[in-house]
Every structure is written in C-alpha cells, then in structure tokens.
C-alpha cells in the first residue's frame, strides 16, 4: 500500500513540477490530458487501488483524493495565470498612442456677430426683452424723419446714407438703414406700451473703412417704453447686461451726449474689462470703454408714433455689435468680420 501512496506522492511532485513548464494554453491542455485525463498518469496510478485490501483502501483513497484535488487546483491557478497573460498580450497588441491627433473632423463655427448677438439677446431676455427685426432697405421717414431728424438736418451728416436708385414712395426716399432705430419706430407704431425690445440687425453708412469702421456693420438697439421708465432704469439695465457679457465688476457711466432722437441723451461708457478701470492699452489709458449712445426717447419721437409723452416715457440705446465682439473676443480690426477668412471664422467654433 505504501508503494501506491508513494507513487501518488511522486506523481504529485512530478506533475506539479511539469505544470510550471506549461507556458501556454496548449501545453497546459497537454499537461491536463497527461496527468488528469481519463488515461492520464493519475488515472493509471489509481488503477493500483484495485490491488489493495479493503482496509487499505480508505487511507489510499484519502491520499488519492488529496493529490487529485491538489493537482486540479494547481491546474486551475495555472490556467488562470496563463489566460491572464494571454489577454494581456492580446490587449498589448491593441496598444494605441493616445497622444496621436484626434480623428480629423471639421468643427463648425458661428460667426462672431451671431455669437455676440445671442449673448446680448440672452442677457436682455432675462429682463423680458424680445428681439425684433425690420427691413434693411428702409424709408427715409422711418430711418430719419420720425426719429426727429427732418430733411436737411445736420445730424444727417453723422449718418451719411446710401440711397436707392429711383426708390421713393409713401415713406419718402428709400435708403439702406443707417441704424436699427426704424425698428423701434415700427414697433411703437404697431404696439402700445409696455414695450421692451431689442433690435439687432445689419446697418449701412457711407463712410470710409478702416480698422474700426465698416460701411456695412451690425447694430443692436434697445427700447423700453412704459409709465415711469427712467434714465436710472437705463443705467440699471445696461449695468446688468454688461455684467453678463463682461464680468460682475463692470460699472456703467453716462456722459451727456447728443442724439436727435433722445432727450436727455447720453454716451455710455463701461469700466474697462481688461484693466478693471486702472487704465490700459485697450481703454487708451482712460479706464473706460465707450459702448454707444443712449437716452430717454425724445418726446417728439413718442408723439410721432402716437404715444403720449406726458404719460409714457422710454429709454433707448444703440451700439455696434462688432464693437462688442471686438471687445469680447479681442479682435483688433473690424474688417475681419466680413472677410470670411476661414482661419478667422474657425476660431469661433
């Protein structure tokens, strides 16, 4: 009997020894067949059990079971080790260089004027302002006369216009609007107060182009008409909006300013968002940045559209969207907006 037990123990030792040599799934499978298979060495050895006496069998059986379990457990451990190694090698073959460039996929972009318009619309929407549009080819009457700029008024010099050939009709001559203020007129003619609108849109002026002037540009104007609307409300509104666009520290300053369609009128400055008012290149060392013109809607303009100026008051402001975009995105030449150079446009993706 001790021969058999010894044989089992020898088998275990030899088999475990050769198990370490099985380095891949195939050799491991061969080992399994050789050792644990139906005709494997363990099975062969266990045939000797039949030669034992009944009282010897339990003892030998115990040893046989232990050896079998030991071999199977070692096999399982070895199998898992090898499988892990195989998987590691497989994945290793799939190694990527994560620093290679991303797949080439063109990114679209919105025009900077679209982007800034939406930002401004969003800021005003919070205060209940609706965006309104109007025609770019306008009647003189809406662009000038009803805005308290009668024909032969010197203020027309500031806004030299492009006129339309043979274009005259109910509203006088046709021209390319020089401001989006005619949208204010059209809105006030069509709606009774309370009114809160902004009017973004293309405008045109017959002037020489340079880094800060384009003959075609985009304006946004705002208008608020109701009882008891004040210049303080104008300042509060512009403060709120510039804080959305240019940061929470912005302050708004009014200087007296002349625009024929407002009275009192104001030039609007904002504390410089680059230097916080200390003075830098962007604000030309003044600490202030000019945003545009504003004021209380002129009583004559309100009367022109049939709103009683002794009951209602309103404020209006206007500024160039390109100018806003230039400040916001650090663009130094207005002509870039209409060059449509992809290298510029794609920077807004």
């Amino acid at each position: 009997m001790s021969d058999l037990i010894r044989a089992l123990e020898t088998l275990e030792e030899t088999a475990l020894g050769s198990l370490d040599g099985a380095s891949d799934v195939d050799s491991l499978e061969r080992w399994r067949l050789l050792v644990l298979g139906r005709r494997g060495s363990l099975a062969e050895t266990l045939k000797g059990l039949g030669t034992l006496t009944a009282d010897q069998r339990p003892k030998a059986g115990q040893v046989a079971n232990r050896v079998k379990a030991s071999l199977e457990a070692s096999f399982a451990v070895r199998l898992e080790t090898i499988q892990k190694e195989v998987r590691r090698l497989e994945l290793g073959a799939e190694r990527l260089d994560v620093t290679l460039p991303a797949s080439p996929r063109p990114r679209g972009s919105l025009h900077p004027v679209t982007k800034i318009r939406r930002e401004i619309e969003g800021a005003f929407a919070r205060l209940g302002f609706t965006s309104v549009e109007g025609p770019e080819v306008e009647w003189d009457q809406y662009n000038f006369t009803m805005l308290n700029i009668p024909p032969d008024h010197p203020a027309r010099d500031i806004q030299d216009s492009f006129y339309i050939d043979g274009g005259s009709g109910t509203g006088g001559e046709m021209l390319l609007r020089t401001q989006t203020s005619p949208v204010q007129i059209r809105t006030m003619l069509a709606h009774k107060p309370p009114i809160r609108i902004i009017a973004p849109g293309r405008t045109y002026r017959n002037e020489a182009t340079d880094a800060s002037h384009e003959a075609m540009f985009t304006q946004v104007e705002g208008l608020c008409v109701d009882r008891n609307v004040t210049m303080a409300d104008l300042r509060g509104t512009l403060t709120a909006v510039t804080r959305v666009l240019f940061g929470p520290d912005r302050e708004i300053r009014f200087r007296c300013g002349y625009f024929p369609f407002v009275e009192p009128g104001a030039e609007v400055d904002m504390t410089c968002h680059v230097c916080n008012g200390r003075g830098c290149r962007v604000c030309k060392r003044t600490g202030w940045i000019e945003l545009g013109g504003a004021g209380m809607v002129h009583p004559k303009v309100l009367a022109n559209v049939g709103i009683d100026p002794s009951v209602y008051s309103g404020w209006a402001f206007g500024c160039g969207l390109e100018r806003f975009a230039m400040l916001r995105y650090g663009i130094d030449d207005i002509r870039l907006f209409y060059d449509n150079d992809l290298r510029f446009l794609r920077q807004f993706s």
Binding site: T130, I164, A232
Partner: protein
C-alpha cells in the same frame, strides 16, 4: 471747433487745467476730440528777423536767408519759399527741430539734420505753419506779427493750448462766447462779454444811401446792415492774427480778419461788401432766379448756377439786381473788398438753417465756416450785437468811422414761449429727485432766467428760453441741462418695475438660429458676406433659360430680376443689393480653398433683396450652404470626396429640424449646375405623380447640386463645388417646432428583406413610394440597405434592397397576414414601376 485757451480767457477765467477742462466739457456733452498744446514741440525753434535775402548761387529757385535770432546770433538758411522779405519776423528751426514734412503724403514727422543744399551748407530752416504743426498752411513761411520779439523761443511768442471740440448737438458751441458760457457754468465763473459799445461817428449824408429789403422773410428772418467809411485796409494786429491762427483761420487783412474774428467770437457769420460797388448801398435778400450765375469767393473761384430754391443777397432791382453773395454761405466777386476799398457795408443776417444747408451741399464741395454755423442754427438775437462788435473793431483797428445807425430789418422776430418744467419731470425722466435749490442753482449757473412756484416735489420752474440756446425747446431739454450740470454720474441704477410686455418673439429669428445651430454643429462655418455686390459678380452665376422647374427655382432663391440699385455707391462692388447668395458663397468657397484643400464647408443665413414696384424690396431669408470638393476622412491624412448625398443629408437635417415632411427632390437641369447632379427641393412632393402633375411655384423651396464646371471656374474655383440654397422664409411658413410623439409599439413586428431590380431610368423614390403605398397601413417602416450596380444585375438596371417592417398597432401579426401582403407589394411594384423581385441568384 478749435478753441484757443488764450482766446477763451478773454471771456472767462479758466480756473482749471486744460485736461480737467476737457474732462468737464466731455462729461457735460461737449466732446473733446483732442487737446493740442501749441508749442511744446518747438524745442529748437526761435523767432528770427530776416536781415538779408539773396539768390542761391547754384539754384534759381532757392534763396539764402540771413536770419538774426537775438544776442548776436545769426544763421544762414536755404529756403525755397518766396513769401518772405527783409524785415519779416519768422520762425527759424535749428538742427534737432521736429517738423512735419508735407512733401510726402501722408505727411511724416522729421527731425532737422545738417545738410548741404546745392553746395551751400544749411543747418536751419525757416518754417511754415504746417511744418510747425500750427495749421495746414504750407504755401509759405509763417510770418509772425511785426511786434513779435526777436530771439525768443517760438513757444514763448506763440504758445497756447487748443482744445478741439466736437459739437454735434450744440450750435452755440461754435462760438467763443458759447464755449465761455459753458465753461462758466461748469466752473462757477462769470462770462465777460466783448466790447460792442459804439455810437455812429456822424449821421448819414444824403449821398450815403443805405437800405435793406427782405423779399424772402421766411428764409431771412433778420438782416442788419452797418456802413463804415474811411477804412484803412492793412494787416490786423498780432493778437487777432494769433487768435485766428489758433482757430485754424488764415489772417488776410484787418477787415476780413475782423469779420472772421467776430464770427468765431459770437458765432454770427458776417459779410463785408465794398460799399462803393453796391448801388444806393441797398441790399436785397431774395430767392435766386433760375439760371442766375454767381461768381463766388470760394477757394476754387468757380461760378455757380443758382435756382429759385436758393437765397442770395443782391443789388437794388433798379440797378440790375445782380446777386452779390450766396446768403449765409459765401461772398461773391462783384462786391469783394479790395486793397483799395475804403467804405464797407457790413452784413449780419440770419438765414434759414435747412435752406443754407441744402444750398451749400448743392453748390460747394464742402461747407464754409458761415454755412456750418447757419445750418446748425444761429440765434437771431446775435445779429445786432455781432454787427456792432465788428463795427467797433473796425473803428479801433482799421481807422473806420461808423456812419449813421445800423439798419435792422427783423421780420422774423418772434418771442419764444417760456418753458414750464415741474421738478417732478426730473424724477420721471431721470429717476433723480432734486431739491428745488439744486435745480435753481443749475439754471443760475447757466444764466437762464427763471421763476419758481410751489415747493418741494411740487415745485414748478418757468424758464425763459435762453436766446443763445436754440436747442432748448421743452421740459425734457431742461431736464438734460439739470442732469448734465449737476452731474450725469448722479443717475442711479434701477430696473423697470412695470409688468412684462406680451410681445411675442418673431418665429423667424428662432428658426434662423435653429438652422445656424444645425449647420455649425455639423461642421460648417458661418460666413457673413456683404449684402451688396456688383452686377458683374451677380452675373457669374447664370439664370435658367427655358425649363419651367429651373425658372421656379430661380424665382425662389436666385431671381432673375433687375436688382435694387444704390444710387451713391462708394465703389463698384457696392452698386446693387444682392438678389442671390449663390455668388457670394462661391467667393467664400474660393477664398477658403486658398488655405485648405478639404473641409471648406460654409453656410450663410442672410437676406436677398427682391425689388417690388413702389414699395420696399422683399428681404427674403435664404440659407445657402457651400462645400468644397473634399472633406477629411476618418483617419489622419484621409480625404473623401463630398457628394451630392452628403449635402442632401445636411438639407434633410435642416428640414427635419423645422418639422417639414412630404418634401422631395426633383432632378433639375439648370445652367449654373451639373446637368445630372442637381435637384430642385419641393414641398408636398408626390413621386407617383411625378411628370404628370405640374409643380406648384409655391412648393419650390430651393436647389441643391454640384456647380457646373465652367461656372465654378468662372468664379475662380478649379474643383467640384456643391451648393444648396433654400428659401428659409418659405420653409419657416411651414415649420413646426412641436411634432406630436408617436406612441412606442406594443406588439412584435415582422421583418423581411426584399431586393428589387429597377431600370436606371426610374427614380428610386418611385419604387419606395410604390412599396409604401401598397404596404400601408401594416408596412410600418421601409429602410433601403443596399444599392448595387454591376455584373450580377442586367445592364441598365440596379438592385435596391430594403428592410420591410410590418406591424399592427393592436395585435401581433401572423404569417397569414404578411404573406399575401408581401405578394401584393411585389406585384404592384412590378406593375407600377417595372421593378422585378431579385431572386436569390440574380
């Protein structure tokens, strides 16, 4: 206006620095464009006397100047100037002098270096006003007043500070007295008015007639005329020349200088006629006659032809009634003052703003000093004081005597009503509640006469309209005065308290932005082309010639109409408004291809302008997409061709976002596009009716296709380009933002694949349509999954394979239901469009 501080101090004490004064004026609404310290750059410039002049030995056109500049210093200067004489006092710049060189355009600043001019060394220069940066006169050397001290730095003799004011809304700011009033109000000083005290030296004799007739009182509300005799024409005194120079006006002689001086002082333009050339001393303000010709004194000296809308000052009708001057604008040659003149007829009149403006713009290349003032408004009240002030100066400075009283014809005299301003109006408009004393003090500082009634918040001010402030007409104007003098910075920050308005957002803006998002999100860059263009450019994309469908496409996105024309374009590229955004897109694609060989994917959401008779043009919203030939592939370095169907996917994305369905694509022949790779995009499209039912014009919404090769190259593009253009307004009219959700299916579907052989000539959509119609309602979906052309199908045909999804809403379908339906679908496909089921081995 250029305001010399030296001059300003004649009327008001300037108690703050120039910079602070500039800030105060700017905050108060008179914007300061620039502050020029006159003289700081004149480090090496001295006043010098010319002691000798001689011809340059080697150059006829050069002179040698012997300049003496004090303390036994003299220097020889070579100059090309001819306006100098021995005894003149001139500025001499020594080596190191900075000067403006006008020989190049634009002028540059240079520093004087020692040089040799035609063999003569030159280490200094005699200088013009332009070179000194003093004015724009580079016609000759600046001759300094004779009493100027010789041998002092020029800055000592001429130094000053000039503030340039931008006076958009303040006509009174075009005068020294107006600016002085403003400065006084802002700094708490008082104004000193100039001396205009004068009595006639003697009465007029019978041989010294004088008269004024106003034929056009609506255009000439006031006319003051003064007769001055024994005038001795000569140079005006240095102080006056200096002041005029600082204001940018050239000194000419005492008479002209005095009229200019008083114009700037009072803001009232004056004109001096040669009395001896005015029959009976009689001046008539009348409308010009048609075709009348006036020889003006404008620099160009051109004769102008007048019309009855214009106003002239003319002679007595009994003496021909010749026009003497263009009223309020410029004098004429007929009565011009000459060196020999001894008697002067002085005009100080008032002219209608709009008329002066219109006439000046019609006749002269630029406004004159007089017309600039009249078109902004000159107070009628200033005519007499200005005339008397000028007379006084003529007496003092030109040895004149005033003969008889001034004639003052004032048909337009009208008193302006006082303005009522309740103090509550400040609260209502500004959101500031002022103390009545604050408001009263502002009016006092401004010199406005007023009275107060009531008290506290009920105080009402009654303010006399100040004659010198034509811009003040109503309470709102006074509110602005209070705010700006008390300080605009006191306006607080609040937010409107009223109810929110119920103005709906225009859907067009919403949809425009939705389309922009889709296009930007799918890799397209938004461009914004100019909306104006040239006829030649528009012509680079041809229009349809004959086909009905192509005509309809053109009418929608590329109308063949005479464009809206700009009558005063600044350049040929701005002559018309665009009628199509196809050409501007091609321009942008071409520009994009200069820097990239792929991914030139652009879009434009903008307007085209379609003329309408007697009305503003229609401004139609168009979205145009442009693609270069290639896009990036999935892997680095890969490049794929952009196809028609790639672009179609983008168009589908847009239409899908707008909730459009039932639209389709009809093959289109259009001269701007590839004959076999182009389609019209139409709404309410029924493939089964194709060819039988005419397309309705209103259903055509756009075009998609590959640009014709010749058209592309005509626009500078040497590769395939794809364009799609949609009438967004038309699509928006049909758009739906909220599409009701279809419930998810509750029962199993039966899914089958079928492949058909279809002749190439039959559009695929006709088979699709046949299958869908026959399969309805159980055929829930139809998805094409393969298109095959090749040796395994007969020549001239292709195989189209579909996945068919059958489903009933209320039970699970059985084979018995689907089998006959499948057979019917196959049979109908054959009958309706000639499609054969593709066998397993076909």
């Amino acid at each position: 206006m250029r305001v010399s501080l030296k001059w300003l101090q004649d009327y008001v004490d300037v108690t703050v620095s120039a910079v602070e004064l500039g800030r105060l004026l700017t905050m108060a609404g008179i914007e300061v464009d620039a502050i020029h310290p006159v003289g700081v750059a004149w480090d090496h410039v001295w006043t010098a006397r010319i002691d000798g002049l001689s011809r340059h030995p080697n150059a006829d056109r050069l002179q040698l100047v012997d300049a003496y500049y004090g303390a036994n210093r003299r220097i020889q200067v070579v100059t090309g100037a001819t306006n100098i004489a021995v005894g003149d006092i001139v500025p001499v710049g020594l080596v190191g002098t900075r000067y403006r060189d006008s020989h190049v355009s634009p002028p540059v600043e240079r520093t004087l270096q020692p040089t040799v001019m035609r063999g003569i060394p030159s280490e200094a220069m005699v200088m013009s006003g332009f070179e000194l940066g003093l004015n724009d006169d580079h016609s000759g050397i600046l001759i300094l007043p004779t009493e100027t001290r010789v041998g002092v730095p020029l800055s000592e003799a001429l130094g000053d500070t000039v503030i340039e004011l931008d006076l958009k809304g303040r006509p009174d700011g075009l005068s020294m007295i107006g600016v002085a009033r403003e400065v006084a109000a802002l700094t708490g000083q008082t104004v000193r008015f100039p001396d205009g005290d004068i009595q006639p030296s003697r009465a007029r004799r019978s041989d010294e007639p004088l008269g004024v007739t106003i034929d056009a009182p609506a255009l000439c509300p006031r006319f003051v005329s003064v007769l001055l005799k024994d005038v001795k024409i000569g140079p005006s005194p240095a102080w006056m020349q200096e002041r005029l120079q600082a204001a940018g006006i050239r000194a000419i002689n005492n008479v002209v200088d005095i009229t200019n001086f008083v114009m700037i002082e009072w803001g009232q333009p004056l004109h001096a006629f040669d009395y001896d050339r005015v029959p009976r001393g009689h001046l008539v303000a009348r409308a010009a006659r048609a075709g009348e010709i006036l020889q003006t004194l404008a620099a160009e000296r051109e004769a102008v032809t007048l019309n009855p809308d214009m106003v002239v000052v003319a002679g007595h009708p009994d003496h021909g009634g010749h026009p003497y001057s263009l009223a309020g604008i410029i004098g004429g040659a007929l009565t011009e003052i000459s060196e020999q003149s001894t008697s002067i007829l002085l005009e100080a009149a008032n002219w209608k703003q709009s008329n002066v403006r219109r006439t000046a713009r019609a006749l002269l290349p630029r406004p004159t000093d007089a017309s600039r003032r009249f078109e902004r408004g000159v107070p009628q009240d200033h005519a007499l004081p200005a005339a008397l002030r000028a007379a006084r100066l003529m007496v003092d400075l030109a040895g004149a005597i005033m003969v008889g009283d001034a004639i003052d014809a004032w048909p337009g005299h009208a008193s302006r009503d006082p303005i009522r301003m309740p103090i509550s109006e400040c609260t209502r408009l500004l959101g500031i509640t002022y103390q009545p004393e604050t408001v009263a003090s502002v009016f006092t500082r401004l010199g406005f006469a007023f009275s107060m009634h009531g008290d506290g918040p009920d105080t009402v001010f009654t303010v006399e309209a100040p004659v010198w402030r034509l811009d003040i007409e109503q309470a709102a104007d006074l509110v602005e005065e209070v705010a700006r003098i008390d300080g605009y910075e006191k306006v607080p920050s609040t937010i409107m308290e009223g109810a929110l308005p119920q103005l709906p957002q225009a859907p067009s803006i919403f949809w425009e932005d939705a389309v922009r998002d889709i296009l930007a999100g799918s890799g397209h860059a938004e461009i914004v082309p100019y909306t104006w263009t040239s006829v030649a450019r528009l012509g680079r994309v041809p229009h349809a010639a004959s086909s009905d469908l192509a005509d309809l496409v053109d009418a929608r996105v590329h109308p063949n109409v005479g464009p809206v024309r700009i009558s005063n374009p600044a350049s040929g590229d701005q002559e018309v408004m665009r009628t199509s955004s196809l050409q501007s897109m091609l321009d942008a694609v071409r520009a994009g291809l200069r820097h990239a060989d792929r991914d030139v994917h652009l879009f434009d959401v903008g307007r085209i302008f379609v003329p309408r008779a007697g009305d503003l043009p229609e401004e139609r919203r168009i979205v145009t997409i442009g693609l270069g030939a290639h896009r990036s592939g999935d892997a680095i370095g890969e490049r794929h061709e952009n196809s028609f169907h790639d672009l179609k996917a983008t168009v589908e994305a847009i239409l899908g976002r707008l909730g459009i369905n039932g639209h389709g694509y009809i093959a289109l022949a259009h001269p701007a596009f590839h004959p076999y790779r182009t389609a019209a995009i139409v709404l309410d499209h029924r493939p089964e009716a194709a060819g039988r039912k005419p397309v309705r014009p209103e259903d055509v919404i756009g075009v998609i296709g590959e640009v014709d090769r010749a058209v592309a190259s005509g626009n500078g593009i040497g590769e395939r380009v794809l364009l799609a253009s949609l009438d967004l307004d038309r699509v928006i009219a049909k758009a739906r933002d909220v599409v009701p959700v279809t419930p998810l299916p509750r029962f199993q579907a039966v899914i089958e694949d079928l492949a058909f052989i279809l002749p190439d000539a039959i559009p695929a959509e006709r088979l699709t349509s046949s299958l869908l119609r026959t399969g309805a309602p159980l055929l829930e979906r139809l998805d094409m999954f393969d298109v095959y052309t090749g040796e395994r199908v007969p020549v001239g045909t292709r195989s189209l394979a579909y996945t068919l999804t059958f489903r009933a809403p209320d039970h699970t379908l059985t084979g018995e239901e689907v089998t006959p339906l499948r057979a019917k679908i196959i049979a109908q496909a054959e009958r309706q469009v000639g499609a054969r089921l593709r066998g397993p081995d076909a």
